[in-house]
């Protein structure tokens, strides 16, 4: 039994690694054998060299890769955390208390389909050009999944569990905090993960608002300077950090909800 588990863990790791190796191998190969011009696509090895170079070199976009990454991270985290802070409680309230649901649903349903990019002009007018406006665009993108998942999660609270608490004399607030929220937590976490994905994916769009630093800005500059290696480096860093942070959220989820994996 134990050995089988160990073997399947190895198997998983092996497949993970070979999937990655194949992806980068083919990519490297089609550039090396000249299937695609190096002006259009650079090999992963060249991207890695650019990465090493960009650790210290500020040409052509005015900042090192570290500075770009930190700025982008800060921007995304502000927008993302704000959306969790507002979206999760709002979704929970809407899902648990009917008056809140009736009050907020119409406005939420109208705001929901508006794409984050459509907000850019009005946000620039309202908030000016700067981190506030950029963070707002990310906030809008991350907000919707937070609300929807928290809402759906708490609505699915087992009615019998509510009855258990009611027969024990629970108040409405106790029902909300002690029964509703814990039952909703798995869905809330799903929402938070989806939110983070949306936030991070909206980064490049948000940095279209007159940024002078950030990964999205670096990609734009790389494009203007016809440096595909810089464009791909920016994309790769966004992909890697996104994956790493999503992984971190999954670990946090496991720690916060230890009862979920029991059997």
């Amino acid at each position: 039994m134990y050995n089988e588990k160990k073997r399947s863990a190895w198997m998983k790791m092996l497949l993970n690694v070979s999937g990655l190796a194949m992806f980068f191998g083919i990519w490297e190969l089609i550039v090396d054998i000249g299937l695609v011009s190096e002006k259009k696509l650079v090999a992963p090895s060249a991207v890695f060299m650019t990465f090493i170079d960009k650790l210290t070199n500020v040409v052509p976009d005015g900042n090192t890769i570290i500075a770009h990454t930190l700025t982008s991270l800060q921007l995304v985290l502000i927008g993302f955390l704000l959306s969790c802070l507002i979206g999760v409680p709002l979704g929970l309230l809407m899902g648990f208390f009917k008056p809140a649901e009736y009050f907020f649903t119409p406005i939420f349903e109208i705001v929901r389909p508006i794409p984050p990019l459509a907000w850019i002009p009005i946000v620039i007018v309202a908030l000016g050009i700067g981190i506030e406006a950029e963070a707002f665009i990310i906030f809008v993108a991350a907000f919707v999944p937070c609300v929807i998942n928290s809402y759906t999660g708490i609505q699915a609270t087992n009615k019998t569990l509510l009855d258990v608490a009611k027969t024990a004399g629970a108040t409405n607030a106790q029902l909300f905090f002690k029964v509703g929220i814990p039952s909703a937590l798995p869905m809330v976490f799903t929402g938070i993960k989806v939110s983070f994905g949306s936030a991070w994916a909206t980064l490049v769009a948000a940095e279209m608002i007159a940024s002078t630093v950030g990964l999205g800005f670096m990609i734009q500059q790389g494009r203007n300077a016809v440096r595909p290696d810089i464009v791909i480096l920016g994309m790769s860093v966004i992909g890697l950090i996104g994956a790493a942070l999503t992984g971190l959220l999954s670990i946090l989820e496991k720690k916060a909800l230890p009862w979920r994996d029991l059997k």
């Binding site: 009855d163 027969t167 004399g169 029964v179 039952s183 009862w259 059997k263």
Partner: protein, 249 residues
């Protein structure tokens, strides 16, 4: 029987449900008394509304007409054992059991002590830190019973508590509940659709008809405990109830 007084009195309780085919009457003018410290079994065919009746007594549902009256000091507070256990998956056994006291704002030390007492009584000592997902069906229902007793209420309502268990575990749990009852006197209202279970457990059995349910008949099994389901008196009573039940269908 030491039925010293009436504990709960139901008078002409009726209930209808709205569904696709219009209104369906579920309970039809049900009147009954529950006596102090008795083990009352409410027996009826599946879907006859027994659970609805229990929910109305527990104030989780409301009657369309009729009254539920609690006499004495009890103001309607009951312990409830649910068919599907209804445990909180994110709480361990101890926290599940002490929940009724926690909601009442009882001090941590006090509620821990009470909860531990009942966890021991249902035979779950050593499992306080386990989560419901790690327990078998029988063990889950032991947690459910411990929780109902921890509430401190002198009335315990049980809604087909062993309905989801396999036959073997079911027999074990029936003995368990009698053992618990011999240690601590409570007024128990136990709903089941199983005739043998009713005869094995009940001081008194009320037989309900199919929907709309009425109280058809009352039985007071005059059988020595521990009852044996192979004894001739047991089987005679079982046949009698089976016949009456068949007539009602």
């Amino acid at each position: 029987m030491a039925e010293t007084g009436c504990k709960i009195r139901l008078q002409s309780v009726s209930k209808c449900f709205d569904d696709k085919c219009g209104k369906t009457a579920v309970l039809d003018e049900i009147s009954l008394d529950v006596y102090e410290n008795e083990f009352l079994v409410i027996l009826g065919p599946g879907q006859c509304g027994k659970s609805v009746l229990l929910n109305i007594i527990a104030d989780m549902d409301s009657a369309d007409s009729g009254t539920v009256e609690f006499t004495g000091e009890n103001n309607g507070q009951v312990g409830f054992v649910f068919q599907r256990y209804a445990l909180f998956g994110w709480k361990n056994v101890l926290k599940n059991v002490e929940l009724p006291l926690k909601l009442k704002g009882v001090d941590k030390d006090v509620r821990r002590a009470v909860a531990m007492k009942y966890i021991e009584m249902v035979g779950l000592k050593g499992f306080e830190k386990s989560y419901p997902a790690q327990l078998s069906g029988g063990m889950k229902q032991r947690v459910g019973i411990a929780r109902a007793y921890t509430s401190g209420n002198d009335i315990i309502l049980m809604d087909e508590p062993f309905g989801a268990l396999d036959a073997q575990t079911r027999y074990q749990m029936q003995d368990e509940i009698l053992k618990i009852r011999s240690k601590e006197k409570k007024t128990i209202v136990f709903v089941t659709n199983n005739i043998e279970e009713a005869i094995y457990l009940g001081d008194r059995i009320l037989l309900l008809s199919n929907k709309p349910s009425k109280v058809m008949k009352e039985y007071v099994p005059d059988l020595k405990r521990p009852r044996k389901n192979t004894s001739s008196e047991f089987m005679r009573l079982r046949d009698e109830i089976t016949e009456t039940m068949d007539l009602a269908l």
